[in-house]
């Protein structure tokens, strides 16, 4: 009798994965296009130096790269842990 509830659970799990994926994709888009739009519309700010040699633009650019990597890491940890555990419980 567990068949329908099992496929429901799988459906819910699949939906949760798409939600996490969509949220993280959105975060990446915001970080990247936020950076690009600042470059396009606020050049003086990006050129301001926080300490000699380090402009706001360089700091933010490096941060976008690090953020992109960190978001990938967050997804990997979530999916390889929580998601895969739930999936393997459903599978057997």
């Amino acid at each position: 009798m567990s068949e329908p509830s099992r496929s429901d659970a799988l459906e819910a799990l699949a939906a949760s994965r798409w939600r996490v994926a969509a949220a993280l994709t959105l975060a990446t888009l915001v970080a990247y296009f936020g950076f690009i739009l600042l470059v396009a519309f606020n050049k003086p700010l990006m050129g301001q130096q926080i300490v000699p040699g380090l402009s706001v633009g360089i700091l933010l650019g490096a941060l976008v790269i690090v953020t992109a990597w960190a978001l990938t890491g967050i997804y990997m940890l979530w999916a390889n842990g929580k998601y895969d555990r739930a999936l393997s419980q459903l599978r057997c």
């Binding site: 994709t25 970080a31 470059v39 050129g47 130096q49 380090l54 633009g57 990597w69 990938t72 997804y75």
Partner: protein
């Protein structure tokens, strides 16, 4: 263009160290190919290394596929000549990777077999979908190959003093050997060796540069600001048109998720978990590499000087090798030159293999032979296709000699983002997607991207020397990508396909659960006429 500006420079001269390191690289990789050739007996081994590549190995191989000589030399040159603007490129080239991880990597691994067309065609009609997917793949691969081959010819001419033609032939022959005999197993290991060499070479170079500035990048940037003015640390002219930048950004972000040779890498790992992890490793390696390249660019501006750099190559492409010579002498120049050469070899090998997969798996096995081709025939066609593409790459490299082909990389990304990505995403995420919708979306994406680039200032003004261009943007992504999505959705709604939506549940199940077979059991190859691609025989360890 023999340099006389830098005194005692070895540029354009046959350099013993460069030739030694290059021969060493070719020797080692051909030994790998010999070893791999004996393990390459099935199509799964030829196209997907038998699914036996580990996540870390695939991470390095993905990074190797992506870090082309263009990004190494090109970004370093751009930073050297215009400072901060180079970082905008680095950021843009990296941000596609999270999208690949979140949306593409694991469904692709779970649904497909060798090419991304497997996924799009999973619940749709095989023939039309595979025909249009192969068209998109081959267009992307051809443009990317031309850019690489022409780049290789020029680069090797400058670095080694070989003639352009000889360089193109060497690249072509060695690359054909890798792909023809070693298939994906050899190509993967060539990418790994190359990625390690490139990362090590760039890190060593950056280390030597930073040593002179007390290991402080900020001191280096500050020195650049002293020499060239504070504006080197601020956005310059690259982003003069925000719309243009957003368009380029879209193409780079979603183009990465549509590049056939990148997508193909996800079939080499055993499961979805390894697919995710491998993109995480790749993203870290590529991000690190771009940050290092940024330091190299500033290092070259400060230690070599802009005038000397443009004296050798107007585009600034020689900034990193010249920096190597200034800080480490001829030996270091030789090493970096050999690494750049090796980089091109590896990238063209990956491209050729993905083109061969489209020709033999999508066109021959699925369309011509309707899945009835026996294993040995598929393998033979795959090898013939590799040989054909390798020869074609050499011919195209010769034909485009002296042309400015930088825009072709942008074009490849624009087509990948417009033709491949929308159809791929819709087929995985939308129940009502249909065969007609997929075909219309892929064809619209390919043709609109090619047409708009033809009408763009890059081709009309820079190449054809016209005074104006019909289409104002250099990159069409902002128009063509939404257009491909829109056409895909509209055509699907206009012509519903009952069978395709009925089979969506199966797609969803398989996409999340995987093939549903224990990984340890080897599965015999199933003829791919059945809509569901066969699971990998994961038992074979590479």
């Amino acid at each position: 263009m023999n340099p006389t500006s830098t005194t005692g420079s070895q540029f354009g001269q046959p350099n013993a160290t460069a030739i030694f390191f290059f021969l060493l690289f070719v020797g080692v990789t051909l030994a790998i190919t010999y070893w791999a050739a004996r393990k390459t007996k099935t199509t799964s081994e030829f196209f997907a290394a038998g699914g036996g590549v580990s996540a870390l190995q695939n991470g390095f191989a993905l990074a190797g596929d992506y870090m082309s000589a263009a990004s190494f030399l090109g970004i370093a040159g751009l930073v050297a000549l215009s400072g901060f603007d180079g970082l905008i490129y680095s950021v843009g080239w990296l941000v596609g990777w999270p999208v690949v991880t979140f949306l593409i990597a694991e469904p692709l691994r779970n649904l497909g077999k060798y090419t991304f067309a497997d996924v799009v065609a999973y619940r749709l009609k095989q023939t039309p979908v595979r025909l249009s997917a192969a068209l998109g793949t081959l267009t992307v691969v051809s443009f990317y190959l031309i850019a690489q081959m022409v780049g290789a010819g020029n680069l090797i001419h400058l670095l080694f003093g070989l003639s352009y033609e000889v360089a193109v032939v060497i690249v072509g022959v060695v690359m054909i050997l890798y792909v023809l005999f070693g298939g994906m197993i050899a190509t993967t290991w060539v990418q790994i060796v190359k990625a390690v060499l490139l990362l090590a070479g760039a890190s060593a170079l950056a280390g030597v540069v930073l040593f002179r500035f007390g290991f402080s990048p900020l001191a280096l940037f500050n020195e650049a600001a002293q020499q060239y003015g504070a504006q080197v640390l601020a956005p310059g002219t690259l982003v003069s048109n925000p719309l243009e930048t957003v368009s380029l950004g879209l193409a780079l972000m979603f183009g990465t998720a549509g590049l056939p040779h990148i997508l193909m890498r996800f079939y080499t790992v055993p499961d979805a978990k390894a697919a995710r992890s491998s993109v995480f490793y790749a993203t870290g390696l590529i991000g690190y590499f771009y940050l290092v390249t940024f330091i190299l660019g500033f290092g070259a501006a400060v230690l070599v000087g802009r005038q000397a750099i443009t004296g050798v190559d107007k585009g600034g492409n020689m900034a990193a090798p010249m920096l190597a010579e200034v800080v480490g002498g001829t030996g270091f120049l030789g090493f970096i030159s050999a690494v750049a050469f090796a980089t091109i070899l590896a990238v063209v090998a990956g491209l050729t293999l993905s083109g061969a997969a489209a020709l033999s798996h999508d066109l021959w096995s699925s369309v011509v032979r309707k899945g009835q081709a026996p294993e040995h025939e598929q393998l033979k066609v795959a090898r013939l296709a590799s040989l054909f593409l390798g020869v074609l790459a050499v011919v195209l490299g010769m034909a485009f000699k002296g042309q400015n082909v930088a825009f072709m990389v942008g074009l490849a990304f624009a087509i990948a983002a417009s033709a491949n990505f929308p159809a791929l995403l819709l087929s995985m995420a939308w129940r009502n997607f249909t065969t007609n919708g997929a075909v219309a979306s892929m064809l619209t994406g390919s043709f609109s991207a090619v047409l708009l680039i033809f009408l763009s200032p890059t081709v009309q003004i820079d190449l054809l020397k016209n005074t104006s261009a019909l289409f104002p943007l250099k990159n069409p992504g902002i128009i063509t990508m939404p257009l491909a999505f829109f056409v895909g959705v509209a055509v699907s709604l206009l012509f519903p396909e009952k069978e395709a939506s009925e089979r969506f549940s199966e797609v969803k199940h398989r996409m999340h659960v995987g093939a549903g077979k224990p990984a340890a059991v080897p599965v015999p190859p199933v003829p791919s006429v059945s809509p569901g691609p066969a699971p990998h025989p994961t038992a074979t360890k590479a």
